[in-house]
Amino acid sequence: MSTIEISCVEIWREISNYLDGEISLELRTRMQAHFEVCEHCTAVLDGTRNVVQLVGDGSIFPMPEGFSERLYKKLHDRLSS
């Protein structure tokens, strides 16, 4: 059974949902068929996946040094007041 073709623009709209698994199986199959033949969309997919991995890996916004100590000191001050 052949899959119905899908345009690059439609692909771009759904890249993020594709990565999150938030699309139907039918759409996923059509997108996969498109990625096999379209290097531009594959580049967008790979780049977006890299972005999600980079952003989620490690602490991009580290807490200031001593953050926890100051936070719980404030809390203890409140508890004892």
């Binding site: 690059c8 967008v44 790979d46 890299n50 999600v52 952003v55 404030k74």
Partner: protein, 211 residues
């Protein structure tokens, strides 16, 4: 099976705090201190302001804990408080600038198309610890409009679920998906050249246009 245990432990801690054992509150909050701070910095972008708001949010959560009904997860409720506190601070600090948050929230309607089709090589794992990469990522996230920045931080940095993100921000899940989509594509365009012009040394970056 870890999740229900965690939740019943939380429920137990909440009961203890409300039952006159306030010391248990620290144990309740500790797993989420980073989440509270990240939420605040996603809105305020300044570590000192984010710390101040995070402290206020935790103290507020303590004083309001008896009103927590358990309809959402404790973490969602706590992050919601931090989110609202941060928005309030931003509003207060900006009053003199004649600039409203709401106008800023509407600034980027419409669809976003990728601007560059360069092929990314897989990111070498040793780069993940790289300080310059962290700075590039911070700059990328800070370059996003506020409504996209908060979505990326909640969903992709702090890994909140779609449902919890929608609950914290008070918007439909569909809007979370749309904003997250735009934010990720924008970040990709921002980061596409690599922080030093190339994602791995020895290869220069080549911009590729589809047309």
């Amino acid at each position: 099976m870890a999740q229900p245990q965690l939740e019943s432990n939380e429920a137990d801690l909440i009961r203890r705090v409300c039952g006159g054992e306030p010391q248990a509150f620290e144990e309740l909050v500790r797993p989420y201190e980073r989440l509270v701070y990240a939420t605040a910095i996603s809105i305020l972008r300044n570590p000192a302001d984010a710390e101040e708001v995070a402290q206020e949010a935790v103290l507020k959560a303590f004083s309001k804990l008896s009103s927590f009904r358990g309809e959402s997860k404790f973490s969602t409720w706590l992050v919601q408080i931090a989110y609202n506190e941060a928005r309030m601070k931003l509003r207060k600090d900006r009053q003199h600038l004649y600039e409203s948050l709401d106008s800023e929230q509407q600034d980027q309607d419409g669809e976003y198309w990728p601007k560059d089709f360069a092929d990314w090589r897989p990111i070498p794992s040793e780069l993940l610890e790289n300080k310059e990469l962290h700075e590039a990522l911070q700059n990328g996230i800070n370059s996003l409009g506020p409504m996209y920045r908060e979505i990326v931080i909640l969903r992709d940095v702090q890994k909140l679920s779609l449902k919890d993100t929608a609950a914290v921000l008070g918007i439909p899940e569909g809007s979370v998906k749309t904003r997250l989509h735009r934010a990720r594509l924008q970040l990709r365009d921002f980061l596409a050249p690599g922080f030093d012009g190339s994602w791995s040394s020895g290869h220069s970056y080549r911009k590729v246009r589809a047309w």
